[in-house]
Amino acid sequence: MVILTAATGFLAAIGRAAIALCAATGALVIFAAQAVAHAFAPPLYPGELARQLIRIGYFSLPVVGLTALFTGGALALQIYAGGSRFNAEAVVPSIVAIGVVRELGPVLCGLMVAGRVGASIAAELGSMRVTEQIDALVTLSTNPMKFLVAPRVVAGTLALPLLTAVSDIIGVMGGYLVGTGRLGISPGNYIQNTINYLTTGDIVSSLVKGAVFGFIIAVVGCHQGYNSRRGAQGVAQATRNAVVAASILILAANYLLTEVFFST
């Protein structure tokens, strides 16, 4: 009898967790749909959009650039070390280019921006929620979804492809610097190999991934912050959830998008 009760309790706990997960997913999807709808229906706030583009895009350049630079350099060393076991050192430029553009550039850019911007959006909107600033917007005849959420979601979706392009270029440059300076590959050969092996499809997939990741970061950050409760603790929780959820969703979306591009 005791074992039966424990088993029922265990199954009930799993059921509760599954229902909570479904409810949270549903709430996030509805929130994302509302954000998109508000982004296209007037009144629009171009000033807010410009401000968010600068905050999300321009101010993320240093962290994205440095991450890409060191990752590109490390990747060149790893491929050289691995390739030398099969006398395949010459593949360093092409594999660095493909690896960075198709995979590491967008993913690392997404994860770094999720940490920097996703957390910042959640904390900002969360503190606005608990200090009644979001309620104040309503009393000033301003829809918070239009004024706060839509510009951030649009800015995230537009800024991330540009950041991804920068990340790709700097990542390849990191590989180039290590390849030519440390591994003795001639600069001309390196550039030629990079260009020869990169296709338009690689670049398109990279930019599409960037746009999807930007949308995820902004929607998750806004959703967590907008629905934040319980004072400072609630804001801290919203910030943490925004980074964790966005990071997991980025990695999951990356796999799905790679499957899509892999099969085409």
Binding site: T131, E132, D135, A136, V138, T139, S141
Partner: protein, 252 residues
Amino acid sequence: MTTARISLRGVTKAFGAKRVLRGVDLDIQPGESCVIIGGSGTGKSVMLKCIIGLVRHDGGQILIDGQPMDARRREAFLRHFGMLFQGGALFDSLTVWENVAFRFLRGAERLPRARARALAVEKLARVGLDAATADLYPAELSGGMQKRVGLARAIATDPQVIFFDEPTTGLDPIMADVINRLIREIVVEMGATAMTITHDMTSVRRIADRVAMLHDGVIQWTGPVDEIDRTDNPYVHQFVNGLPEGPIATLR
């Protein structure tokens, strides 16, 4: 008989098992300053938020000028509405004047920036703040100054209806009196309908034309402000005199 500016008819609201409003009935006449009193956690703020649509009520009706409040009427109502929040709720990324002129910087009431700033400075002067305050950020102001800025923002467009949520909470008695006087002056001067929620009896006596006592989710008593000391309603008597004994449980 004139139609009430705001009417609540059997308004109910529950959060889970907790029934906060159990059937609130209240009429606020045009140009009247009505103060809602009641202990902490009795649903005063929830009632206020139900009226402006920040919280969706479960049952009953909210009427504006005798018409049921729907999305379109709420939008129209909010265009001529101002509210002073308990903590000020100033936008900390904007300067003081941008807070006050928020409606004038975007949307349908948009004005040139210089004109919007001039109007903001004018409203700041009305609440006793000089032009030097205009370019500061809210975090650089004291609590009393933040309340004044909140008040200037609430009256920026000369609204027909103004709500005050605990306007003197957290202020010293002198600053609280300054805010109370300002509220009264502004409401009389503008002829606005005002609704204030507070448990500060000094504010009640200074601001109110009429008082309503909310307890156990219903309006227990309503009457002119000068009757609050004479009424034999046990709830009002206990609350006004701050007595531990009476129908209001002291342990909540």
